[in-house]
Each structure stands twice: as C-alpha cells, then as structure tokens.
Amino acid sequence: MEWFAHLAVVFEPLNLLILLLGVTGGLVLGAIPGVSPTLSVALLVPFTFHMAPTTGLILIGAVYASSIAGGAVSAILINVPGAPANIATTFDGHEMARQGRASEAMQYAFTSTLVGGVAGMLILIFLAPLFVDYVLRFGPAEMFWVAIVGITIMASLGTGSLLKGLFGGALGIWISTIGISPATGQSRFVFTHYLDGGIHIVVALIAFFAIPQVFRLLESRATVASQAVVSQASRLTTVVRNALGHRLAMGLGTLVGAIVGIIPGAGGQVASIIGYDQVRKLSRDNATFGHGDPRGVVASESANSAMVGPSLIPLLGLGVPGSPTCAVLLGGLLIHGIFPGPKLFETSGGVIWPFLGALLLAQVLIFFVGLQLSRLGHLVTRVSPAHLAAGILVLSVIGTYSIQNNLGDVYVMAGLGVLMYLGIKGGFQPAPVVLGVILGPIAEENFQMGRTLAGPSGSVLDYFTSGDIVQVLMALAVISLAYGMLAPIWRARRRPATSVGAGL
C-alpha cells in the first residue's frame, strides 16, 4: 500500500491549493475555443521548471483533466466546442441551451465528467499493465482500420441527410490533405504559402463551429435562449440522480472512451464522437438525439473524460505518447527527471503517484467547480446577440493565432468559416467535415506506411487484412456502415407518416 501513502501527498495544503487553481484555470482555458488541452499543457510546462517535481506535475495533471472538461462549457453555451474532444457535446448540449436549459446541460456534463473521469483513472491505476502489450500491437494496419471505423460514423452523424454527411466528410478529408507533408516534403494543394503547414485541426474547428455561430447570432438577432428555464436540478443530490438515471449513456460512453483512449494515435478527439454515436444507436427512443437529449451530453462528456486515464497508459507504461497532448506531457515529465517506461513506478513512484492522485482528485474538483459555473451558464444564453457574436469573434481570432503564432491561420479560419456558413445554409453540418479533417490523416498516413512495409515482401492487401485486431475492426466498420444505411429505412417503415425535416 505504498502507493496509497504517495497518493495522499495530494492532500497537503499547498498541493491542494495548486490543484484547485489548476482546475479552475484549466476549466477557463478549456472553455476558450482554440485553447485546446494540448496548448494549455504546453503553455504550462515551462512554468513548472522552477517548481518541485511533485507540485509541477500536480499542476500539469489538474490542467490536463480540467481543460478537457472546460471545452464542454463553450460547446453547450455557444455551440463552439472548446477542443475536438467536445464536438459531440454540441449536438444536444447546445440544443438544450437554446431551450433555456443551459445550466441543466452543464450539470449533466460535469456529472458525466466525474463518472467517466474517475472510471478512466481507476482503469489506469489498476489495469494499466494488462493493456500495455495490447497497445504495442497497434501498427499501421490497425490504425488504418481505426480511422475507417471512425469514417463510417460520419454518415450517421448529425441530423442532416446521409448523403450530405458523407459529402461533408469527404470534403474534410480533402481539407486534411492540404499542406506540405512533414515526413516526405511533398506539397499538395498549396496555392498560397498560408497553407504550407496545412490546416490545423483546431483552426478548422473554430472556422466550422464559431464563425457560422457568429453569423447565426447576427442574423437571428435573438439571444441563444429566448428564456431560461429555472433549473429544477440545482440541488446536488438531484443533479447526480438525474445524470445517473441515464445508465446506458453513462456506462457505454465511459466504456467507449476508455477503449478509444488506450489506442495510441486516436486520442480523445474521436472518443466522444464514437461514444455519442454508439449510445445513440443502442438507446431506445433515439429520435430525440440532436434535439436536446441529455443522454447525448452524458455520452459525449463521459467518453472524453474516460479517455484521460487510459490515454496515459502508452505514455506511462511504455514511454510512448499516444496523442499530441501526451507528447507534451512527456516533456513535462522529462523536465522533472521522470522517465516514463516499464520501470517508472519503481524509480519515480514518489512523484508519479501524486500525479495520478492529482488527476483523480481533479475529476472531483472539476465536478464541484463546474457546478458553480453551471449556475452562471444561463446568463451567457441571455447576452445580447451582437455582444455575444463580437465576443466569440474576438476569441476565435485570438484562439486561432495562438495555436502556432501564424497570421495565415487567421485568414484561413475566416475563409473556411464563411464557406461553412454557406454550407450550413445548404443543409450541411460541420461535425462530419471536422471528423474528416481529424480522421483523414490517420487513414492516409497509416495507409502510406503500411504500403511501404508491405511493399517488397508481400501484397498490400494481405498486410491490411491480416491480424485479429484488424479483422475485428473490419467487422466493426461493416456493421457501422450497414447500420448507417439501414437504420433510416427501418425508421421510415416504422413511421411512414411523419417525416422529420433535415435539421437547420
């Protein structure tokens, strides 16, 4: 029980204060579009240079966990996900806000963060050794199929039509090919030097969600919600009971988030979307999803929080960071003389356990700080549209510029944003496009690498179809695709009379 003693270090007054500051700061940073968890942690690491290792890592852990949860705030209130991990939260969260239930949606989000986050951390603490070898088996072929499974979800994502979803996804994949390849130096579709570095995923995120929202606010001249419904769920016990009532959404979201979190390279960006999609498919009465169903918020937020713990398994167990955020965390660990790898807990147990303890306790603090924030949530939905639009626009420009200090990104963001606004008028949804931007490179890079590996010795087809993980993923892709195509037909048969309009 040595680790338990180390864990208790978190409760020392100074560490507890640091943790609270980190959580509050992380929630605010996470809520700013463009300031993703990766950027938040990267900005923070140099500040920890002068701190004691334990204190520094507690701060990093607190900010990492809370910036992911913070992204839900902007997703719900202004329909702009704080980071890719919060995309699925907009589907139902913002609809709830429009119905005047912003505070309630935020309460659901933070309760889900608590459940998913704690479950994910417990998986990391107790089950990590079981998964370490499994992680290593993900090579190019496996990663290619992970991306394909994700792409099959695009078709059924959002409330728009199947065809427009697929077209949007294809467009997103095309956007992801723009730029000069870091590995080989080949350039594609670079007609202005602003595009040399390609279109950063967070730039696309802001462009596709924030800018159309600005137009929409100016156009409708109405506040987000016409009136706030006074939340019945302001008492702690009621909040928890309400959220836990959605057992399927909570359980499935957590499970999917944890599984996707372990896979190196997929990361939290797709965990919440896959979690949302699975919950919607397996829930009864799923017609209300996308129209302000709390289960959507629960699924998305439990999935992205459950991802936090398992995503550290490749990093801590193997020294291999599975996501960009983990790569930044690796830097933070190294600077304090901690070398992740198989012997980590033997050599640095005194520092790494408080770090894990901080991540665990952070989930609890996020819940309480988050509930306080929730009380204020409805205020944002009552801000006058002009002021809110201006605010979003300012944050968008700052957020975009801060990603890589590149003015070109701001121009690209503005251009793509206007195009997306026109696209939404034509019945397209931003989510499939962003998913395409995320998954396109994973599919393509791994296909390229697999082709190189298969090249001289065997056939490319064999390489991409052998191995048990590959075959399971292929089966999942087929099932997901079949469901996407057949579900609308079943639904139409069951209810031939009512035809639901194609969303916005």
Binding site: A42, L43, F49, G185, D196, L218, V320, L330, F339, N405
Partner: protein, 340 residues
C-alpha cells in the same frame, strides 16, 4: 414586407461589420508581429526582449530543449529570450517564415536542427532558407543516431543485421523520423557503407512513432535518437551508435566504425541558435559570445541531461565550421543517390 427587407439590410450590415472586424484584428496582430525594425547599432544591444522561433510544435524535443537552453538568458544577456513556436511541414513553415518575414535586427533568432535543415535545403531548392541566408551562432545540443531492434529480435549485432539485409535485398524494414532527417541520413549512410538495400519507413508522426514501431515489432529495426532509445532501453536492443566515439550513456555499445561499417557522425542531431543573414555583425558576435555562456549554466546543463540529450556547446567559429562540414557531406551523400 418592409420588415423583411429591414432584416436583410441588417444581415448585410452585420456581415460587413464582421469582415471589417476580422481584417482589423488580423492587421493588429501583424503589427505586433513585426515591430521594432529599428537597428540599434552600438553597445546597448540587446535593449529589449528577443524571440526564438522554434519550427516545431510546443512540447516536442526541440521545443523543450530550446526552452531549457534560453530560459536563463536574461541573467547573462541582460534581456530574456521568448520561445515562439511556428510548427508545420517538418520545420519548413517556421524556417521559411523566418527568412521571408522575420526581422533582421538581431532580435529574432531561429532554433536549428541539423542535419535535417541542411538535408531539406539541399534536396528542395525551392525552400526560402539555405546555406547563404542562415547564419549559425551557437550550438547547445548533440544527439547521435543509434541502430535499434526489438527486445526479442533475432539480431544481436550490426553484423547480423547486415547479413540479413544482404540475404534479403530490399526487405529489411527500418523506421526513422521522416525523410531527410538525421535518421534517414544514417540509413542512407548505412546502406552505402554496408552495400545493402533496405526498406526505409519514414514515420509520419516523427521519431517517437518510429521507435514505437521498433518496440511493437512492426519493423525489424530502426534508426533513432540516442536519447529516446536510451530512455526505452528496457524494451529495446541498441546495436550501434552512429558517432565517432562511444556514448557516455552507453559505454558498452560499439560505434558503427568499431562494428566494421563506415558510418560516421554526419547524422547526429544538432540543435542550436541561428539568425537570418543581414543581422549586423556586432550583434551576431555579441550573441555568439553570450549564448554559449547561457548554455553552460549549471541549471541548463542539468535540465538538458534530464531530457536524456547530450550537450555540445559551441561558439561562433566552431558552429560555422560544423555547418560547412555538414553541408558538404550531405551534398555528397544526397548527390550519389537522390533516394526515394
């Protein structure tokens, strides 16, 4: 009806306001980006904070080392150095930007990575940066390439790898961090020296992914950084170091030359500070005098060691010689077979 057209004008006005706002905001950023074109000749340089452009993302090995290396700059130089990340396209975005739009007043520095930067401009003449406009100032770190195989690999020595590659031309899969990186240079040198043909896999996500493929058995071998391989030595076998002498981290691992394969230290990953040509010579000299002092500070050396990277502090003359030597060698290597 009237109401409708009113709404439409409102919409247009809103749109116009939006466009104006974006342009104004963007212009404001541009202004802050390139202020201070004044060249302060004289003794008071530097009299305001400097910036260091890192052409890779925050949190990566280069970024982390750069932040460590310049963090106490104010103590020695009198002014702090602020790290600015401009990542993209394997360093091309940041380095192109520095040469195309960066200042030449001595207040904007660039972090370089060799041999990557040199191999890029040798292979791609269309890049803005080249041997004529990048002026090296001081070097802080050196991280040699090593040949690694998985823990359970049948290969025990470099000779085993060479024998296998000879018997199976083009089949031995070897990973590294992208094309024209130090790892790729090492692989090209290895092919040449051992007279074999290997299947080089440039990992799209860089060196860490390349190492993951070796540990996971997706490739049979890999060229990778000594620092990262050393950290993961429990999951790997390190067969040889691409350097002229053994590493203090790995006293039992032979160099390639000791193992009978003529691969030298050309691929060693070197990191340091450069400026763009046009910076007044007195400023360059002052930087070259003070920066090595900063890099030699004990706090910098300890932290660099924590990241597992070897330190190599060089001043102006030595760094320039290093650039010239590497440029010649890379040109010769790439000219012989302008591979993939």
């Amino acid at each position: 009806m009237a109401n409708h057209s009113k709404a439409k004008t409102g919409k247009l006005a809103g749109l116009a306001a939006l466009v104006v706002l974006i342009v104004v905001a963007a212009w404001g950023l541009r202004q802050t980006g390139s202020d201070g074109a004044l060249v302060g000749e004289g003794d008071d340089y530097p009299d305001k904070p400097l910036s260091l452009t890192v052409a890779y993302g925050p949190g990566g090995a280069t970024d982390l080392q750069a932040r460590i290396a310049v963090e106490p700059a104010a103590e020695v130089l009198g002014q702090p150095i602020k790290v600015v990340n401009r990542p993209g396209a394997g360093g091309r975005v940041g380095w192109n930007w520095a040469v195309d739009s960066g200042g030449r007043d001595g207040y904007e520095l660039i972090a370089y990575n060799l041999p990557h930067m040199i191999a890029q401009w040798t292979h791609e003449p269309s890049l803005s940066y080249n041997a004529d406009n990048v002026v090296p100032v001081a070097n802080w770190g050196a991280d040699p390439a090593v040949l690694v195989v998985g823990k359970d690999s049948p290969f025990q020595t470099v000779a085993d790898v060479v024998d296998y590659a000879r018997a199976h031309p083009g089949e031995l899969s070897v990973s590294g961090a992208g094309l024209y990186t130090g790892h790729h240079v090492a692989a090209l040198q290895f092919q040449r020296a051992a007279d074999v043909d290997i299947n080089f896999l440039p990992a799209e996500q860089g060196g860490v992914q390349a190492l993951q493929f070796v540990i996971g058995g997706q490739v049979q071998a890999g060229f990778n950084n000594l620092s990262d391989s050393w950290r993961n030595r429990d999951s790997l076998k390190i067969l040889a170091v691409a350097d002229t002498e053994r590493s203090e981290f790995l006293p039992d691992v032979p160099t390639f030359q000791e193992a009978g394969v003529e691969v030298d230290d050309l691929s060693t990953n070197l990191r340091g500070v450069a400026v763009v040509k046009g910076v007044p010579e007195p400023h360059v000299e002052r930087l070259a005098e003070k920066l090595p002092e900063v890099f030699r500070l004990e706090q910098v050396q300890t932290k660099l060691k924590n990241t597992g990277s070897g330190s190599l502090v060089l001043g102006l003359r030595e760094t320039r010689e290093l650039f010239e030597r590497k440029t010649r060698a890379i040109k010769a290597l790439l000219a012989q077979d302008d591979a993939p």
